[in-house]
């Protein structure tokens, strides 16, 4: 019968229409600014720099090794290395003073959120943020983020990526223990040699 297919289709749309009142699965719209979906933990938007302790300057993990600057696919990271060193807070190097970025900027209008900087960073110093409502009317300065805007505390990292942050902390603690054990062992051997 001509029109049977159309009628079948109409039954289907009717079922979806009335079903949307009963079944949660059929009603998928979210009224965005008022209603919000929970972002998954893995969500990534733009990178930020991590610091330990309360001081964003002293506790900054970045040692200005420039690996992310080289590996960044769209080349949106610019780093200027400091001339002097500062004490190491993360404890990766058993307190040896480290360089730090005198200037660290990310052009977020160029950044493509690929998180390759996060993958290549050996110091767990750069991570992905989840904040996404970032529009600005200043398309030059407003999109070139400097160090002051990029640095976020470790607590913030724990807040947005709890599982991942806990893993990173455990890894860092392991590294620190190793680094502290090494000079102690070295001191012990040299002490033993001296005694001999």
């Amino acid at each position: 019968m001509l029109g049977k297919g159309i009628l079948k289709g109409l039954v289907e749309t009717a079922r979806n229409f009335f079903g949307s009142y009963a079944e949660k699965e059929r009603l998928t719209t979210v009224q965005f600014p008022e209603e919000r979906l929970v972002q998954p933990e893995a969500a990534r938007v733009f990178p930020f720099l991590l610091y330990d302790t309360d001081d964003a300057e002293k506790g900054l993990r970045c040692v200005a090794c420039k690996i992310c600057e080289v590996e960044c696919p769209p080349k949106c990271i610019t780093i200027e290395k400091s001339t002097e060193k500062k004490p190491d807070y993360a404890g990766n190097y058993a307190g040896k003073p480290q360089f730090y970025p005198a200037k660290f900027s990310i052009d977020v209008s160029v950044c493509m959120s690929c998180q390759i900087c996060v993958e290549v960073c050996p110091f767990d110093a750069i991570k992905m943020d989840t904040a996404f409502e970032l529009s600005t009317d200043d398309r030059f300065g407003g999109l070139l983020w400097e160090k002051d805007r990029l640095t976020k505390s470790n607590e913030y990292y724990h807040l947005i990526h709890p599982t991942e942050a806990a893993e990173v902390d455990a890894q860092l603690a392991g590294k620190k223990a190793k680094a502290e054990a090494k000079p102690a062992a070295a001191a012990a051997t040299t002490g033993a040699a001296a005694a001999r």
Binding site: E12, N16, A43, P73, M112, I116, E119
Partner: protein, 384 residues
């Protein structure tokens, strides 16, 4: 049909069916039917298409040259942006080429995860393609919204796994970036068991619809020989009745372990191409079920795999996969440095698009829109 009517009237007016005035119109870029910045210079005689010249290049982003000036790792996020509906399969094609070039083995679990995400990609690509095709026919809204409702669930899964809905940047040469959680696999399982319900709904809504049938059956016929000669691949080739699926032919990854059918068309018209997509979704679900059942524990990437500063020996490799749109190939030549000497993408969309004129000749303008919709192009891949 409209073609005969136009010819009759022409003959009535002029006494000669070939003496009508030709009208050249430019459809696109940014024509509502053209799926992005694509232009067609169409020459019409009455309503009948006598010549059609596709114009590409509005979305050219120099992808190949960028990748030739970047490290092997840095090219992966760029491949996401080729066919932006299917970033996972693009990643896989590129990773496969680098793996062939360097000779990296992929852990078993990573292979399973790759199959799972690739088949999920196929599901969401085909679902949205059917939605877009119906949108082009004037069924504005309903089928597309139903398709997007299902696509959204898959994209949510991608987001919780990789952090991004569309630009996944998930695969690495030698495996995948992060492991899946058991909860994620359960969610995939739940989606796979619910999906047939959506497919049934979709088919009830569309497959027997008389309007859909009259707009698509016998329209845009692509003969078997032409399809083979033009290098057409993917569902379009199979709709013309050629049994060629790289998952079967190459058995790349671990596809030789799964049992699935390759649906074949008979007429090579738009309706067959629509049916190919609908049937392939069923087969994808079969593969997904098997993969979810058989997935093994283990690492997803060898920690010793060198991602940064990879320096393959001089040589060349071609990695190809069955992307949802056809054969997606990456051709790499290495000269021993950290950057590929030559990087070439074989995009299925572009090559499938070359037969557009042959399918459109003699049809009306409204049919061009439907035929273009059935090819399944993404301009990010056509222009690169």
């Amino acid at each position: 049909m409209s073609v005969e009517i136009a010819e009759d009237r022409m003959a009535e007016l002029t006494g000669d069916p070939d003496s009508g005035q030709l009208l050249e119109i430019s459809m696109g870029p940014h024509h509502p039917s053209t799926h992005g910045v694509f232009r067609m210079n169409v020459t019409l005689e009455g309503e009948r298409v006598v010549r059609l010249k596709p114009v590409f290049g509005y979305l050219h982003r120099n992808h190949e040259k960028i990748a030739e000036n970047a490290s092997y790792l840095a090219a992966i996020p760029y491949t996401d942006r080729l066919d932006y509906l299917c970033s996972m399969t693009n990643n896989w094609g590129y990773a496969l080429a680098v793996e062939k070039l360097v000779g990296i083995a992929v852990p078993e679990r990573a292979e399973y995860i790759r199959v799972i995400v690739a088949e999920l990609t196929r599901l969401q690509n085909h679902a949205s393609l059917i939605g877009f095709l119906l949108q082009d026919m004037g069924a504005s809204g309903t089928p597309l919204m139903y398709a997007f409702r299902e696509r959204e669930k898959i994209l949510d899964l991608f987001e919780s796994l990789t952090g991004s809905r569309m630009m996944c940047n998930y695969m690495r040469f030698g495996g995948v970036r992060v492991d899946t959680t058991p909860e994620w696999l359960e969610e995939v399982q739940a989606l796979v068991s619910r999906f047939p319900q959506f497919l049934d709904e979709f088919e009830k809504l569309l497959t027997e619809n008389e309007i859909l049938m009259s707009r698509t059956q016998g329209v845009g016929i692509l003969p078997r020989e032409l399809a083979i000669n033009a290098g057409v691949t993917g569902p379009m080739l199979r709709a013309s009745g050629v049994n060629y699926d790289i998952r079967k032919v190459d058995g790349y990854g671990i596809y030789d372990r799964f049992t699935f059918r390759v649906p074949l068309g008979e007429h090579g018209d738009v309706y067959d191409r629509y049916m190919m997509r609908a049937l392939e979704m069923h087969e994808s679900l079969k593969i997904l079920e098997q993969a979810l059942r058989e997935i093994t524990a283990g690492p997803v990437i060898d920690p010793k795999t060198r991602l940064r500063g990879l320096r393959p020996k001089a040589g060349e490799a071609y990695g190809r996969i069955e992307s949802p749109k056809g054969e997606l190939g990456f051709y790499l030549i290495s000269n021993g440095t950290t950057e590929p000497y030559r990087y070439r993408v074989r995009p299925p969309s572009l090559i499938n698009l070359t037969v557009l004129e042959d399918m459109c000749l003699g049809r009306s303008v409204a049919d061009i829109v439907v035929i273009l919709g059935s090819i399944d192009i993404v301009l990010g891949e056509v222009d690169r």
